[in-house]
Symmetry: D3
Subunit: 341 residues, 6 copies
Amino acid sequence: MKVLTFGEILLRLASPGYSRLFQKECLETSFCGAEANVAVSLAVFGVNSAFLTRLPKNDVAISAVNSLRYFGVDTGKIVYGDGRMGLYYLEKGASQRPSKVIYDRAYSAISLSKSEDFDWDVVFKDIDWFHWTGIDPALSDDMVEICLEACKVAKSKGITISCDLNYRKNLWSSDKAKSIMPELMQFVDVCIANEEDADKTLGIAAKNSNEERGKLDKSDYISISNEICRKFGCEYVAITLRESFSASVNGWSGLLYNAKKEKVVFSPNYKIHLVDRVGGGDSFAAGLIYGLICGKDDQEVIDFAVASSCLKQTMEGDYNRATVQEIEQLICQGGNGRIQR
Amino acid sequence: MKVLTFGEILLRLASPGYSRLFQKECLETSFCGAEANVAVSLAVFGVNSAFLTRLPKNDVAISAVNSLRYFGVDTGKIVYGDGRMGLYYLEKGASQRPSKVIYDRAYSAISLSKSEDFDWDVVFKDIDWFHWTGIDPALSDDMVEICLEACKVAKSKGITISCDLNYRKNLWSSDKAKSIMPELMQFVDVCIANEEDADKTLGIAAKNSNEERGKLDKSDYISISNEICRKFGCEYVAITLRESFSASVNGWSGLLYNAKKEKVVFSPNYKIHLVDRVGGGDSFAAGLIYGLICGKDDQEVIDFAVASSCLKQTMEGDYNRATVQEIEQLICQGGNGRIQR
Amino acid sequence: MKVLTFGEILLRLASPGYSRLFQKECLETSFCGAEANVAVSLAVFGVNSAFLTRLPKNDVAISAVNSLRYFGVDTGKIVYGDGRMGLYYLEKGASQRPSKVIYDRAYSAISLSKSEDFDWDVVFKDIDWFHWTGIDPALSDDMVEICLEACKVAKSKGITISCDLNYRKNLWSSDKAKSIMPELMQFVDVCIANEEDADKTLGIAAKNSNEERGKLDKSDYISISNEICRKFGCEYVAITLRESFSASVNGWSGLLYNAKKEKVVFSPNYKIHLVDRVGGGDSFAAGLIYGLICGKDDQEVIDFAVASSCLKQTMEGDYNRATVQEIEQLICQGGNGRIQR
Amino acid sequence: MKVLTFGEILLRLASPGYSRLFQKECLETSFCGAEANVAVSLAVFGVNSAFLTRLPKNDVAISAVNSLRYFGVDTGKIVYGDGRMGLYYLEKGASQRPSKVIYDRAYSAISLSKSEDFDWDVVFKDIDWFHWTGIDPALSDDMVEICLEACKVAKSKGITISCDLNYRKNLWSSDKAKSIMPELMQFVDVCIANEEDADKTLGIAAKNSNEERGKLDKSDYISISNEICRKFGCEYVAITLRESFSASVNGWSGLLYNAKKEKVVFSPNYKIHLVDRVGGGDSFAAGLIYGLICGKDDQEVIDFAVASSCLKQTMEGDYNRATVQEIEQLICQGGNGRIQR
Amino acid sequence: MKVLTFGEILLRLASPGYSRLFQKECLETSFCGAEANVAVSLAVFGVNSAFLTRLPKNDVAISAVNSLRYFGVDTGKIVYGDGRMGLYYLEKGASQRPSKVIYDRAYSAISLSKSEDFDWDVVFKDIDWFHWTGIDPALSDDMVEICLEACKVAKSKGITISCDLNYRKNLWSSDKAKSIMPELMQFVDVCIANEEDADKTLGIAAKNSNEERGKLDKSDYISISNEICRKFGCEYVAITLRESFSASVNGWSGLLYNAKKEKVVFSPNYKIHLVDRVGGGDSFAAGLIYGLICGKDDQEVIDFAVASSCLKQTMEGDYNRATVQEIEQLICQGGNGRIQR
Amino acid sequence: MKVLTFGEILLRLASPGYSRLFQKECLETSFCGAEANVAVSLAVFGVNSAFLTRLPKNDVAISAVNSLRYFGVDTGKIVYGDGRMGLYYLEKGASQRPSKVIYDRAYSAISLSKSEDFDWDVVFKDIDWFHWTGIDPALSDDMVEICLEACKVAKSKGITISCDLNYRKNLWSSDKAKSIMPELMQFVDVCIANEEDADKTLGIAAKNSNEERGKLDKSDYISISNEICRKFGCEYVAITLRESFSASVNGWSGLLYNAKKEKVVFSPNYKIHLVDRVGGGDSFAAGLIYGLICGKDDQEVIDFAVASSCLKQTMEGDYNRATVQEIEQLICQGGNGRIQR
């Protein structure tokens, strides 16, 4: 069983500790990207995982690739060409001060991709699961086309397709997203979303929830899930539920909707003292894919996905370094945090 | 509209993270000082802000001046002479362990100032608002005289005068303060204080509050404010209300008393996971001055001042790096800390 | 009054901040060890304190010795020989992610000690109190013998003996511990334990408490204490009570059982935002010994021991750097964490 | 006397110490740019110095502006618009391993400038000296036009114009440069160049020097200088002479050709143990401008320029933090490096 | 063409900068080991490279494996079992103060290996070149046996065998080495050594050189090489020639002796300002293997090996991060260290 | 044999690496002081060493005392009182840029000492050697008196007295020094000086040397030494000879003049790549005292003193961490810097 994720890998430049950007004279570096994060988390779980992107051939990009190999991700499918390495600046928030992300990803090599850069028949040869996100088609019009081609070839080969809707308002407008995502969603078996994604990219909204205030109404999420499955023929919809009490403390849980059974299961809710919340959704996706691959039952799947992403948010960096054993221990013991000697 | 603040700028040497002083082999440096902090915060708000002090001519003091210029503070009025650059050591507390400040500010150039060092007619030429604090006259007997002269000239020019009472027990005794501050207070239009300042410097005490335990009785603060205005003819009294649950978590709010209206307004109360509480009061003063300058109504003024100083306490360093936009966002959205992408 | 503690000193290699082991390219170094920690804490309290161990003669061990001298611990009794310097890797947990300790202490010089390495008559010449822990006999069979000899000589000289049961499952099995500790306990005047120690090393268990969940039943602890005193003739049993809400927040309290009076006293319970929980038990032991040496009454003793160890857990490193003055201030003021200027 | 420099300001991301890019998990940040560097160095000399560029309005650019204000550079003329903040990655070389720069400056706000962004009549109102470099027109075709307009207006106002040829092969080809620079050079009074610039941008080559090997033939430089002055009507040509023995040790000197006198003067040659060679040429330009502004004689001018840039290369960062006093001390005492107490 | 190296991987704990061990409160971590270093350098060259060792299953060892994967080394052949992860402490010297290594590698998992841990037929399935060093048999008597078995199987499969003699006096005595190495050398095709190795492990000494003083006599090295080839049937002997002027500056060159041609070739001599000399010999071995694999002629081979290891010594860490392109540039341009933009 | 050194201990705040003061946001901390440095170096040599000073009772001073205890210095004689802890800022130079020291030591506790603070009869009870420096009487007029009293009591007890002339121009003028030092020198047995000290404090000048240029004439030093011995009755004069080629490279040697034998011996000359030159003279003094205490012959003494101080200058911090074994190895092997495994 081999999973391919497709998307962008970025350099992350984070202000150290709780200092504001450029308050100190250094930035902490790591690599990240919604799809790369999923690939790494799966590799740490022991899944055979490959990542596909398009990169320039320079020392920054080579280091990005090495950071994936460190965790055992197969980087042999990556293609190289013109364009830059995208990056983002991160300032970690605290208490009432929100975290802040400044993207500098325009003109990245992946956003300049052309259809001919990817030979999907070759790419998918040893692949059983294909994961992409709503960031991919948001990068450029060519990327819309490329995603469509990838989905078609994957479908024709019987590969399971998962998509995290991942709406990014500085990459495209909600209107643009809604004009494109529905077509791509036709191919998706497993749809992953957070509070606002379904609304902004598919026009499927929660009626009573007020996303700005972090107040969540569970029945709404069920109706959203149901509608997605009905419209696009998905087998599963998984939704992360974040309650933002402050930049330091968040509630975190999730649900999984099984279209065949027409049933939803909810995970426990973790109150997290955040170390680094970025990448939380991606580690949820990775946990979900892992659970489904392993043939866990629906409750086990959502519990694993939420525990996986709970642990990610207690770690620095976008990459989820939690192992299957650590996640299972959290599920069993409920997060008392007793020292492991 | 140009604001001048007058006082000391110090080098701050802080132990990194939660380590005790000299537990690690480095100290984090920044510059600070009750009045310098106000000047910086105002400059970050976009206010035309100048800072006046007296400094030695060495690399430490030049770096202090540069740190003010970084934020756009006008440093052209600063005078130079003999004496040292004051400094303080800071050990950040956590949970039950309090933060600890060790001052080494004796014999600083500002404390050695003589009347003839400052030509107030020239200093105040382009100034509309003059801010000083109770630390100024506490530095030396000459500084008492200098403050008096400054206040007189400012008054004569129709400049608004604000004073943060800022009692520091290691600079002078409460008795000494009470023998000096009342005379200076005659010139003050806007008086800023915290729980113990009015008592220690003016002899105006809360009756029922127990400052040591952080228990606050609002009616007391109203009577204190009223009494200050009555005695010294102030137009406004603003008081910060800190509830110290631990060195890690504080409650934070404030009130503004309008003497003309004989009315008090209270801000919301923020429960802050502290990053660095030092400079909280100064960023409150800056927010207050900004609000009054902008012609906001009393509730808006106190809300802005408290939100400004709430954000400061989520940032490292004495200087308040919060922008007007960030403060207004906090006021609108109530501190849920959702990530800004 | 001079206290000797006897045991191991280790190099501690801790991942910086909340990063996972080897996520960053450096490890923070300090020295530690259950018994060395007690020696340092006592020296910081101003007690005449000596530490005895066996070390190799290399730069690592010399630095360990120097780290003790820094705090004023007498290191003149230490003996030198073959074997390594033990060490452990520490990854600090956060929220639902537990802290993690990886020991690498096999073949340490102290574990290779032979009876003839220690001349207890000479060692104990100026000693009034002897403190050892359950880690000592767990290190090797020779160390069992050595502890026995030490206890016998100490007893014969009228030296007070305290022992922290300190069960370590990766050093020996509970069965092995239970076959050895009872004999050694015959010599112990003051027994210190945490939730699981008495069960694992002496087979004396709490009936209703569920240690894994951090739920504590006070009556059980009284019966455990009573049983220990009855079986081994101890004068005092002190027990630390940790409630592990998460890796970031713990409840912390303790009790002291006085066999003669057949009475138990409980300390207040501190809710601690943990900076570094390792060494908490050792600083409790040091506080207890200090209180008993000073002739405090039982309630004062347990209050001091718990406040001492509460403060330790707000500091980085195993060593407790809290002074008597700081501990007394916490006892008086209850942990409001107000800044000390 | 006020000097305006015009060009780009970049974020510099440097690998710490001698580590390779991304070998450690952080990058040291500073701001830089050939023209910004000159502005800062002049401000440190006490010259009234302004910097003009075009920037996006985000936290990165604001920090860049603040970094200029820190040194007292007037940043009030800067314009804001679309585009990114350019950046470059720096890996410091050592011994046989060369330093390495990876530019990521495409699509920067300055490179997207349009003619209408700059109102040169307003810009030049208080300016006496205008400094630009060959990087400016290399950024885009619009920038060629903009430079031409700037030069024309400056000339018409009697402003002295200096240009550092600064050839950058990854911004434009030598052929492109040669098709553009000659027209712009018509306006230049003071031309600054290094070994290869005149050849690559003006087609004026040294005959016998072999730039790759760092072997310099002084007579060649005289003939180059002479030819530049003849062709473009410059008053002065200044050339830096770098002998690259290794990435750790360089020889450094310079010459100044006075067209009116038809005479060349050479500076002493400094053998520099390099701390950071980047920005060496810019600090030379600043020293040269300072010397000419001060009315020093030709020998004094070149000595000051070379000593200025020698000291820069013993400091970290692109910005030259050497003061006039430090430079004069180097000129007087010849670099024995005796400690200053 | 795939190369397998076999040996130990250690954790390296280096004091930062030029500080003494434990002078600062952190140690810089990296992974290393004579044979692992060769595997990494080859992988960076683009060679298909695998590393075989025996490790415990803990977070330290997993990070070691990941550090190899980062560079693309195949770690799939590694076996796991009991024992520790070896480590060493490094204090970098400067000028007259030598660098200092303190090993703590006893009881490592590889030193506890048994014959049955390795199935050489499986291990060597896809291998064309086998590299081991004199450290392997020095680790334990079992490892002597294991090396012998490996060599026999490799020989029987026609795999080229290279060995770096790598004498380590704290692992075994010269007498012990001389009683074991000759038998193993019978299988070696390419022998690599430094000044003292041949003497200490094979009893083949330079007659006139005085290794302690770094004075080298080339004719001696020729005779040593010749004798090695004659005695053990090697095809090539390569020797590194280090002149230790100080801990900061070393001369570095090498020679290659071709037994068939009975001819020796010498490389150029590099005077290196050392950044980190550890791993110099291993990067020489990697360069040599690369050169021979590529079919370069003898002079090209030794030039590549020496340039490779020259560059390594200008980089931090044991691992050689120099690329083929960088090495070839050094060979072409002779180390002038000009900045690469 | 126990040595007492008497003087000041300061906090040193050093800019990291080669950065300018406040270029980075931290300062590296250590403790130092001419006389404290000697005490530490002697303790590292294994000599029974005590340090006497006067300090305030705060966390900074306690850490200073602890830093001495770390190395085994007896700090039990230190007295406590009013005044500050002195400090200095250090910016490390490189190449042509000199190192820079900014003192902030006025009003230190030691400079405020009164005669009655020291009971010399008690202080000297277990002391055999008394070391002070020219900084002591330069601190205040009271300190002149105190030094005189100390010398008198020491002399009366037959204690050997050594003095390092250590002229500091920012503490007193040469004229003031010359009016005071001669009287104190009457008590001195061993006088230590550098190039300019004898001239500035005693008015005994080298005739032909040009200290500013670092050109040294040996015969001059002999005549200076001779004159000192004749005038003040010293037994030994030792002089350090520094050739300042640059801030990065210095020549370093010394001489010892034996008054009884009327003979001078010179040490070898070390060319040092400086890591940190501050404290060089103090480690020379310590080496000298050690050599004389051990009864080495004159050549051995000066060789040891110079090798000791050579090694100090290859280490960070004022304190000399070189051991006797390391110094002897340097003397034997001549500084080839070969790695010690």
